[in-house]
């Protein structure tokens, strides 16, 4: 009897549990997802600066940045200085001309006392009195053109986020006149005549850059030096030998100096074009990296420049700020890279170009960019 009761209770319990399980409540809501893809609103374009391979839809890019060597003059010491110099010591007689030209870029500039940095200069001695014909930088997007007889330097507005070709030419067309020309990127920025006595002893004493005064800090990169002396003899230096054979009379003190390095001047490496009728915001970012280099990547449109991706042996800042890419307009992607000649190359940078409709964050698209350096 007792067994029968227990058996009945067991089956009752099992039945109840089964009922409970089958009493589960499931509710179903339908979800439909439709994809209607579109042609890429933003596509990459090749600026033909470096060997570049675009993806078939121009939504990716592989770039091979070729190596270049340049002279790096640096002053990292507020109590130090660096002057890169070559003594010329040639007389400038009537009918002769002296010209110096190089490609230069200055960056990481601090100058609390506004002493400036000479980007290019000729010391010309007139009757043994030194005079300096100079192109000087005090920060911002302006350079100052100065020389004998100019009481106030002439200002010249220039985009200093990129390198420029500077040229100073001094001629003596008449016995009593010096003509001084300042060229920037092969355009005449300013010129004037300076009266001298017919018997003046004019000597091109030296060419130089940097600053003897202390308190500022900077990196100055120079390449493609070309000097035409008073005898029309051309001396050039591209530093590709790994040695500076031009600025042989340089001098410095403190934590300042000069060395030849691998250097890629700030240049456009890729364009992005907005094919759409609406504007987008875009930026660059980079994957983690460790390499013995200093590198910057940034973007520009016609009116503004993003902040930079910064690499100093490792990634310090991993993305740029966003900038506007208007309808039917371009943004320009820039890089500059420094590496010691001892660096193990090549180095690969894995960048991402990201964009989204301006002032809207619902959709973000990312295109890959691979840059091989070296």
């Amino acid at each position: 009897m007792k067994q029968t009761f227990l058996l009945s209770f067991f089956f009752f319990l099992l039945f109840s549990l089964t009922l409970l399980v089958f009493a589960s409540d499931f509710t179903y809501y339908p979800i439909s997802i439709s994809l209607n893809p579109v042609a890429p609103p933003i596509t990459f374009k090749n600026p033909n600066i470096y060997p570049t391979l675009l993806g078939p839809a121009n939504a990716s890019a592989t770039i091979n940045v070729t190596l270049n060597k340049a002279l790096h003059a640096y002053d990292y010491d507020t109590n130090g200085y660096i002057v890169i110099q070559r003594i010329i010591n040639q007389g400038l007689t009537t009918g002769t001309t002296f010209s110096i030209q190089w490609y230069a870029f200055i960056t990481n500039y601090t100058d609390p006392n506004s002493i400036g940095v000479v980007l290019q200069e000729i010391q010309v001695n007139i009757n043994n009195n030194p005079n300096w014909v100079s192109i000087t930088y005090f920060g911002g997007n302006t350079v100052y053109l100065s020389g004998p007889g100019l009481t106030t330097p002439k200002t010249y507005t220039l985009d200093m986020s990129i390198a420029h070709t500077f040229n100073i030419t001094i001629s003596r067309p008449k016995t009593n006149r010096l003509s001084i020309y300042y060229y920037i990127d092969n355009n005449l920025a300013y010129s004037y005549n300076y009266a001298i006595t017919k018997t003046a002893n004019v000597v091109i004493y030296s060419v130089e850059g940097g600053r003897y005064s202390t308190s500022n800090t900077y990196d100055l990169y120079i390449d493609n030096v070309r000097m035409k002396n008073v005898n029309n003899i051309i001396t050039s230096e591209d530093f590709e030998s790994g040695t500076d054979n031009f600025f042989i009379n340089s001098y410095s003190s403190g934590n300042a100096g000069k060395t030849v390095v691998y250097y890629t001047f700030p240049k456009i490496f890729l364009l992005a074009y907005n094919n759409d009728t609406k504007s987008y915001a875009c930026k660059l970012s980079i994957a983690p990296l460790t390499a013995p280099i200093i590198a910057n990547f940034y973007i520009k449109n016609t009116t503004s420049t993003s902040t930079s991706i910064l690499i100093k042996n490792t990634v310090i800042t991993s993305e740029t700020s966003e900038i506007l890419l208007g309808s039917n307009a371009y943004v320009y992607m820039y890089l500059n890279i420094t590496a010691p000649l001892t660096a193990t190359l090549p180095i690969t940078f894995n960048l991402q170009y990201t964009y989204h409709p301006y002032n809207s964050y619902g959709i973000t698209v990312t295109y890959p960019i691979t840059i091989t350096y070296g």
């Binding site: 509710t27 839809a57 939504a59």
Partner: protein, 190 residues
């Protein structure tokens, strides 16, 4: 012996008669339905209706009148497309529910290198990533607590191979899913 056979035959006949004289017993059962407002509902994410790629396209999010159905229309392009916070799953009940996502008809275009529906909570912690290219049902997620929200992102990676800057990666594709919820997480949803 003969009598015994007669007895067996009689017994069988009686048994057959019992079977054929089946008795039907009827108990009264009352089934009463008392519908309630949906405890779990869809609502627009911050970016529903915001500009999508190309021209006047928008991130299309249509929610049924009872907030119990969802239609999403997107306009991606080549490479990596991230659609963020386009829909919200909200529990407006006083009790918690478990949720699962079932992909009945997956996205099928071969250009889709990946297609993920990401669900995450208010802290940004991922609840699950649903592969929209595979027919599958997730495990029970949650619970989605009373008055809590989950958010939906959709991430698409589209192959550039064979593409063109002037044409879309492919014409169209669609997926059919279900959001299933239950107060329990013991039994798998049928």
């Amino acid at each position: 012996m003969f009598k015994r056979k007669i007895l067996i035959l009689l017994s069988l006949t009686v048994l057959l008669a019992i079977v054929n004289a089946a008795v039907f017993v009827y108990y009264t059962t009352n089934l009463s339905l008392s519908p309630v407002a949906p405890p779990i509902v869809f609502s627009n994410g911050n970016n529903a209706g915001q500009p999508d790629l190309s021209g006047t396209n928008t991130i299309g999010v249509i929610i049924g009148s009872a907030n119990t159905s969802l239609t999403i229309t997107l306009h991606p392009t080549y490479r990596y497309n991230y659609y963020k916070n386009i829909t919200i799953i909200k529990n407006q009940d006083t009790k918690a529910y478990y949720v699962t996502i079932r992909v009945n008809t997956p996205l099928s275009n071969a250009k889709l290198l990946s297609a993920t529906l990401r669900i995450y909570d208010t802290t940004g912690t991922t609840i699950t990533n649903v592969d929209l290219r595979v027919t599958d049902t997730t495990a029970w997620l949650g619970p989605l607590n009373s008055n809590s929200k989950w958010f939906i992102d959709i991430i698409l990676s589209i192959d550039e191979t064979g593409g063109s800057p002037s044409s879309a990666p492919f014409a169209s594709d669609s997926a059919s899913l279900q959001l299933i919820y239950s107060p329990q997480n013991v039994e798998t949803a049928p």
